[in-house]
Amino acid sequence: MFEGWLTIVVFLPAAAALVIALFLRDDNRVRWFAIGATVLNLVLIAITYADFDRSAGGVQMIDRYEDWIPVEGLRAEYLLGLDGLSAPMVLLAGLLSAVAALASWRITLRVREYFIWLLVLQTAVLGVFTALDFLLFFIFWEIELIPMFMLISIWGSGRRHYSAMKFVIFTFGGSAFMLIGILALFLSSGVDTLAMVSIPSEGIVGIPDRVAGVDLLLPAGLIWFLLFAAFAVKMPIWPFHSWLPDAHTDAPTAVSIMLAGVLLKMGGYGLIRISVGMFQETKDFQVQDVAWLLALLAVVSIIYGAIVTFQQSDLKRLVAFSSVSHMGFVVLGVSSIVGVGGTVTDAGLNGAALQMVTHGTITGLLFLTVGLVYDRAHTRHIPDLGGIALRLPLITVSMMIAGLASLGLPGTSGFVAEISVFLGTYAAWEWYTAIGAFGVVLAAGYILWTMQRTFFGPRNDRFDDLEDANFLDMIPVAALVVSIIAIGVFPKIVTEVFKVGISEVVRI
């Protein structure tokens, strides 16, 4: 089947980038065109999301071209599709792409190139979340590297060259191992497919169904670790996180938003779809065997991330380290796959998936508001700030909302996600969950302390005539605030879809 809809959604940003490259010269036109294209794509994605049939489940809106690389050694197809796991991720990617484009309004350096790279990046991440052929997935996963490299190293600040290279080397290193893992899975006799899921209507029997009880080419545990390496770097999980603070700190605002909001979620998405979804019925090794490791790494990430966050004096670096801590909750939720007494519930994984979406919107908003503060105060050094709440009321309120959501205030999406993670995981890992929950307390500490030092207290004279955010700045802020509160009050709009997807991935 080839409906064509997802292909349009994925490649629309790239097509817009091509139009900019070929036809547009004027900076202002480029801005409007790029923003228009991403907003249009967000509308298309919203329609897609609404159109996703929650009761039917399975893979929908399939775009399939079988004869892409139909050779013996590598039967790769062009296969895009949407299921309950990927649909909300695509929505998140679409939302944050639009936010990032809007937040790039003030870019004045090499505007055309900037928007071209930003649009290519959007195509890559949308591709990652919709590709259901393993090679295609990997291709999109790799394509994303180059726009990020360019965006950080040209439009970044500080040690941007170093950070950009570090980002590329870490991610490329992780994905190199993933490639070997993919090849080993595919080449195992009996597997012989690159389809990441089974699609009965297309006659596709995917890897999760084919690996059951089969002798793999390499030991299943080794393959799992090869694949996990890529996701662990991307999420990032301690001790693979050291690229993240550098990349975030030196990236421009919009790129930080994309990085924290969407790119890290590629790791979580891979963890659930691949590390969990494909290794439940493998012979001699199941993902349950390493659930303890996931839980342990999760707790270390949560606590270590939170403690290091306390020590940061740079606002962006602070948000970056809090991301390490918050992505730890995703891993903790995934570790509940071990189950209790042989039965697995999907509550923990649902929480993990929801945590990805909420962290995406919340951290997106945090970086956005930090960027707004920096544009005005020209510093992100917390001790230099303070007392600017009265000058920047709108920005202060926005950042407060993001901060409170980040520490899990009821009524915001952060609360729903974290509570579901803890509820789902507690039965399986009592102690780990108890320690992990302490991360929320720490989060409350560093968030409130940061807010206090940044916005309240005595004001430095040089901040006396700061101008608050204008209408244009507030559009992306409002979009994120609305989504944070909407999910907080009505989590069903996302969880309902995730539940369908997770139950298929986890097979319960």
Partner: protein, 494 residues
């Protein structure tokens, strides 16, 4: 020699004849530009002969006393070599003005060298292969020295000396193969080996055969630029004229891989022997990749850096050669050599694009240092993008041909029980990101030395665009090329 033999040899003979025609025309013509067009258009004759052979292969495919073949593998390389040569000549049109008064000789030497390479890919006899190798190598030594600067002369001399040395090693290895099997015929060797029941029947046991294989690989390894025979590469690449470097890095390497593939997979391709030399190649591959990439890291001269990069890529190619059927469970396993052929084409279009973009830029700046490319994205936007695209293909980022090439050879390696080698390969790819991306960064980030715009001449421009288009097309729709490669190797792999 009969008409059948003539037809089999027609591509090689017509290229050599074209070289002679160019020399004669050089004596007659005052202007030198028409010579370039004569050479490029003249290449359509061997191309036509190759096409005839492809679609209407005479049976038997073997001729000239069993020494030359026109099988699919040979024809595959004929296409590759003719295409590469035509592209290099076109792209070097402006550059070759530097060879005042010697443009004709430059073209003729290149064409003669190609005829040797084509014969090398088509030889079915080790003596013919040796002669073809010498025919292809000697003109290259002269070409490398063509700038007549100290560096260029050093490059030519170095190439000549080491080429002679490696030929001696090769010849010694061929003697062993002949001594054990009693024949110089590549297919005949296989029969002879199959005819021997056990090691005892072979002179020196299988050790003698393996010694021969080791020395043959070492001898051709010089041309393939594999470690530890890569010492000449950086110096020659730095000193030789850039079009010659492009020619050397692609044509010479491809032809060497063609004959090694033929010898290994046909003459000593039995399962028992393949297991042995596969291990040897795997170790060489690991060393070659690592040496090439590590030494490339510190280079300041872009041609020198690409010299080490070509060593690294020889390593990736060896990964594909080492992936033999003997280690694999699946029957009729040809993914390894098939991947090698795909990789060679991918590498050819990529390296052509890279070198042509460099030629176009350095024609104006005259500066081969990486720092000389600073801010090039502003001075020559499109050329910089094409050069960056080529470098990304060398690095192996999708959607380029270089990425799929790596996927195919690594996939073959994993399939034939060489997962460890594939792991070393991907780690090496990560290391290579440092030096490829450094050039990209220099072009796109650093401040340009001057604001003068750089425009390329039409020929080099067209050649760069064609090569870049190739690397994208093969990266996005690789199927037909893969099929082509499968046809080419299926007759050779036993």
């Amino acid at each position: 020699m009969n008409s059948h033999d003539l037809l089999l040899l027609s591509p090689e003979l017509s290229v050599a004849a074209l070289g002679l025609v160019v020399i004669i025309a050089d004596l007659i013509l005052d202007k030198k530009t028409p010579l370039i067009w004569l050479a490029v258009l003249g290449l359509s004759v061997p191309l036509a002969f190759t096409l005839i052979l492809w679609f209407d292969t005479p049976s038997p495919e073997v001729g000239v006393f069993g020494t030359v073949t026109a099988d699919r593998l040979a024809l595959f390389f004929h296409f590759l070599l003719i295409g590469t040569t035509a592209a290099v000549i076109v792209a070097g049109a402006t550059y070759s003005r530097k060879f005042v008064g010697f443009q004709g000789e430059f073209l003729a030497l290149m064409l003669l060298s190609v005829s040797g390479m084509m014969l090398l890919a088509a030889s079915r006899d080790i003596i013919t292969a040796y002669v073809a190798l010498e025919v292809s190598a000697l003109p290259v030594a002269a070409l490398a020295a063509f700038l007549r600067t100290d560096r260029s002369l050093e490059a030519g001399f170095k190439f000549l000396m080491l080429s002679g040395l490696s030929s001696a090693v090769l010849l010694y290895g061929l003697v062993y193969l002949y001594g054990v099997t009693g024949t110089t015929d590549i297919a005949g060797m296989l029969e002879a080996i199959n005819g021997m029941d056990s090691d005892g029947d072979r002179a020196f046991g299988s050790g003698g055969l393996m010694l021969g294989v080791v020395m043959v690989v070492a001898g051709f390894g010089f041309k393939m630029a594999i470690a530890p025979f890569q010492m000449w590469v950086p110096d020659v690449y730095e000193g030789a004229p850039t079009p010659v470097v492009a020619f050397l890095s692609i044509a010479s390497k491809s032809a060497a891989f063609a004959i090694v593939l033929r010898v290994l997979y046909t003459a000593v391709g039995t399962d028992g022997l393949a297991e042995d030399w596969s291990t040897l190649l795997a170790v060489l591959a690991a060393i070659t990749m690592t040496v090439g990439n590590l030494l490339a890291l510190g280079q300041q001269n872009i041609k020198r850096m690409l010299g080490y990069s070509t060593v690294a890529h020889a390593g990736y190619l060896l990964v594909g050669l080492a992936a033999v059927a003997a280690n694999s469970d699946s029957d009729g396993f040809i993914a390894g050599p098939q991947g090698v052929l795909f990789y060679l084409v991918a590498y050819a279009v990529t390296n052509l694009a890279v070198f042509f973009a460099i030629i176009a830029i350095t024609n104006r700046t005259g500066n081969d240092m990486i720092s000389g490319f600073a801010g090039m994205a502003r001075r020559a936007p499109l050329l910089s993008i094409l050069l960056a695209l080529g470098l990304l293909s060398l690095l192996g980022i999708p959607p380029t041909a270089g990425f799929l090439g790596k996927v195919f050879v690594f996939s073959a390696a994993v399939d034939s029980d060489l997962a460890w080698l594939a792991v070393i390969g991907v780690i090496n790819s990560v290391v290579s990101a440092f030096y490829y991306l450094r050039v990209v960064r220099t072009m796109f980030l650093d401040e340009p030395e001057s604001d003068e715009r750089i425009t390329a001449d039409i020929p080099v421009w067209a050649a760069t665009m064609t090569a870049s288009a190739g690397l994208l097309v093969f990266g996005i729709a690789p199927y037909s090329l893969l099929e082509f490669a499968r046809h080419a190797v299926s007759g050779v792999v036993i």
